[in-house]
């Protein structure tokens, strides 16, 4: 009897260890960056909105590519840095930059109107804001847009051109004449809006517009008049002149040896680039006078750069293949989403791993005989259930910087997602557990008490098993909600499946990836429901 019991315990321990190992495996498998080097001098973390082709987006093989990323790659190569491409949520870009979780924003980043907010490189792309309408639209010039609904990306330069502090009076008047100026999250949804007639026109950067029209065919056209002209630069944290100068000087060198032009050509942006105007011919000479060593190294570099240039051409040739507007089929989309699925799974797994025990702990505090503890738990639960999870995630991620002035390490992004989710779900689980515990008849406690069970024994042997059975249906509900809630990780730009689907949708200008993602969620939940039902059935050996 004893022997077999021991064996049982050992088997359980083994199982637990296996589950833990599997979890860790999923974690590292899905997010190799979690163990990557921290933010130090030898890495350059570039923040970009991964749904902004051709400057930065995700191609069909799941790689982040784009004109800006190729430039950044080249700059890193020349400085011996490691490039980290960090997709961010555009609305959180300032928090990301200030907290040090990214080094710069390099992503078709409009300087006009933001001159004072960042330390800028010189402009390298001259861009204008143009208007796209359906091919058969009655809108032919800007004044035709009066009374129409116009879409712009949230916090985009198009929006700034209409409503920003530095917007021209003409543009302000033009904007006044619109029926509505609608802000959308990304260009893909803007086009979905336009296509379905929800909006009449989209205002966007010319480079993006050209790309979109090229890949979406002749269903759309661009107005000849442009709303405004603007320039792109690389934004660094205010005061970070050192990094700005290094990157900028490298760009100048790339302009000198034509690498910059070559990369621009590969991305079809030859018409837009303007870096050349800013390369300080005088400065280069002065630099030579002042710093001989530097000029020597730059000579050596020039020799290498030819080779590198060729390589870049090869690379970008591949990229052009990727971005050619051929839309991928269901299978290849599913394959791409697979990576995001791992990230989703790891959020799911770790949230449950931490929030279930945390919830139980919270239940104890909530049911404590000390009024003070009870109230602390009450307030905690009330806040966690009463505010949006997305807001909680933002607080967990950016709080350490804004409240404690702590610099965030690169891997904190994933931890923040798990911490945020676990803290939130623990509150829900705590209330479910409490109702489960209170549902166990008082007589059970009394019987145990008279038989001499201690409080601890009464809970673990008598109350807890009965509670588990009672809470299964509500817990199943929560777990299924969690599967879908994982998509909220996009708020911290953690690339789980839904964020990935949106990025692929933007890159391929198709909504199919969103449907594939939906299917994945459904299958995931189907499995979850199946497993939970099996557990419930197993617990039905008693009533």
């Amino acid at each position: 009897m004893k022997e077999s019991n021991k064996g049982k315990v050992q088997r359980r321990m083994l199982l637990l260890a296996a589950v833990l190992l599997a979890g860790i495996f999923v974690w590292f498998g899905s997010d190799g960056t979690a163990v990557q080097a921290e933010n130090d001098d030898s890495t350059l973390i570039v923040g970009f909105d991964a749904s902004f082709p051709p400057y930065g987006y995700q191609d069909e093989s799941g790689e982040y590519v784009g004109f800006d990323l190729d430039l950044a790659q080249e700059v890193c190569k020349r400085n011996g840095w490691k490039l980290v491409k960090q997709p961010i949520d555009w609305d959180s870009k300032d928090m990301e930059l200030n907290s040090g979780s990214i080094d710069c924003i390099w992503n078709g980043f409009t300087m006009n109107g933001r001159e004072e907010e960042y330390t800028w490189s010189v402009p390298y792309v001259d861009n204008s804001q143009v208007v796209i309408v359906k091919a058969d639209s009655a809108i032919h010039k800007l004044s035709d847009m009066a009374g129409k609904i116009v879409a712009v990306q949230a916090d985009s330069s198009a929006l700034a051109a209409f409503t920003g502090e530095d917007a021209t009076d003409e543009n302000k008047a033009l904007c006044e004449s619109f029926q509505d100026l609608q802000q959308v999250g990304d260009y893909n949804s803007a086009f979905m809006n336009l296509e379905s007639g929800m909006v009449d026109a989209i205002c966007m950067d010319i480079g993006v517009a050209k790309y979109q029209i090229e890949s979406r065919g002749d269903a759309f056209r661009m107005l000849e008049e442009s709303v405004s002209s603007e320039q792109y630069g690389i934004g660094f944290k205010k005061g970070n002149d050192t990094l700005r100068d290094t990157v900028q000087n490298t760009l100048f060198a790339m302009s000198e040896d034509k690498t910059f032009e070559t990369i621009a050509k590969e991305w079809g942006l030859t018409d837009c680039i303007c870096l050349k105007e800013y390369v300080p011919a005088l400065l280069v000479e002065e630099g030579d006078m002042e710093d001989d060593e530097k000029s020597q190294t730059s000579y050596v570099e020039e020799g290498e750069e030819i080779v590198q240039g060729e390589k870049v051409q090869e690379d970008t040739a591949n990229n052009t293949e990727g971005k050619s507007a051929s839309k991928s089929d269901f299978l290849s989309i599913a394959k791409q989403l697979g990576k995001g699925m791992l990230a989703t799974l790891s959020i799911f797994f770790f949230t449950l791993l931490f929030s279930l025990p945390l919830g139980l702990l919270l239940t104890f505090v909530r049911m404590s005989k000390y009024k003070v503890l009870q109230w602390i738990a009450r307030i905690y639960i009330s806040i966690m259930r009463g505010t949006p999870l997305m807001l909680q995630l933002l607080v967990v991620f950016f709080g350490p910087y804004y409240l404690l002035k702590m610099n965030l390490s690169y891997s904190y992004r994933f931890y923040a997602v798990i911490i945020g989710f676990s803290l939130n779900y623990a509150a829900y689980f705590a209330e479910i557990f409490r109702s489960g515990i209170e549902g166990v008849p008082l007589g059970q406690r009394e019987a145990a008490s008279v038989l001499g069970y201690s409080r601890m024994q009464t809970f673990t042997k008598i109350i807890f098993p009965q509670m588990v059975k009672r809470v299964m249906p509500p817990v199943t509900n929560e777990v299924i909600t969690l599967v879908k809630d994982t998509s909220l990780a996009f708020a911290l730009a953690y690339t789980e499946m839904f964020t990935l689907a949106k990025q692929i949708a933007a890159a391929q200008t198709s909504i199919l990836p969103l449907f594939v993602a939906g299917l994945f969620y459904y299958i995931f939940n189907f499995v979850v429901a199946f497993v939970m039902e099996a557990v419930e059935k197993k617990l039905n050996y008693y009533r």
């Binding site: 007589g443 145990a448 008490s449 008279v450 001499g452 069970y453 042997k461 008693y542």
Partner: protein
Amino acid sequence: MKVLEMNHVKKRFDGKEVLKDISLTIEEGEVVSIIGPSGSGKSTLLRCATFLEQMDGGTLSYSEHPVVVEDEETKKVIYPPKKELREVLMDFGLVFQNFNLFPHYSVLKNVVDAPICIQKREKEEVYEEARELLAKVGLADKENAYPYELSGGQQQRVAIARALAMNPKMLYFDEPTSALDPEITAGILKIMKQLAEDNMTMAIVTHEIDFARVVSDRVIFMDDGMIVEEGKPEDVIDNPKNERTKAFLKKLSY
């Protein structure tokens, strides 16, 4: 030997006095029935004796060892530390009105768990004894069943076996047949009568007057938180002296 001795026990619920100065002694081998109208405090008395309720005044001893004492100056009751109290719990068992079996344990596990986990007794010995007890209450063939598969009467038999498995010095019964149908009640009473014949010390809160008359050495009539009358069953039940006892018994007859 006095298995239980309670002196001047008082208990209040929200200011209302439920037990008013109750003193009760139970000798080894004695069977005591406690009768009285509902709300008279008889169940509360049992719950105080089994530590399910905390007394507000008075003292309590088991096997002539003081357990709950009164501070001489403040008259406040002093309970021993939890660990000591759990030792005292081994002196008695309690059978509830609603059985309170553990639904997630099989019949056998319900009986053996406490002796093995709390009393740390040898497993083989406990299992053997548990099977004997189940046979004694007529459930030898149900040891692998779960409580929900049993009738109320069968569940109460398991509850009795569970209490006996702890080898208590005495057993309390809190209206053990009130939740049962009459034809099932007889079976339970039979088992209790058998226990009485085996010299088990018992205190029984019951409405079964006829049963009390047959099985008890002493009957206590309680009303309004006080012991109104006590004595041999033939005196208290058949020739009550007190008006309240008479009134109560009269209500029961038809």
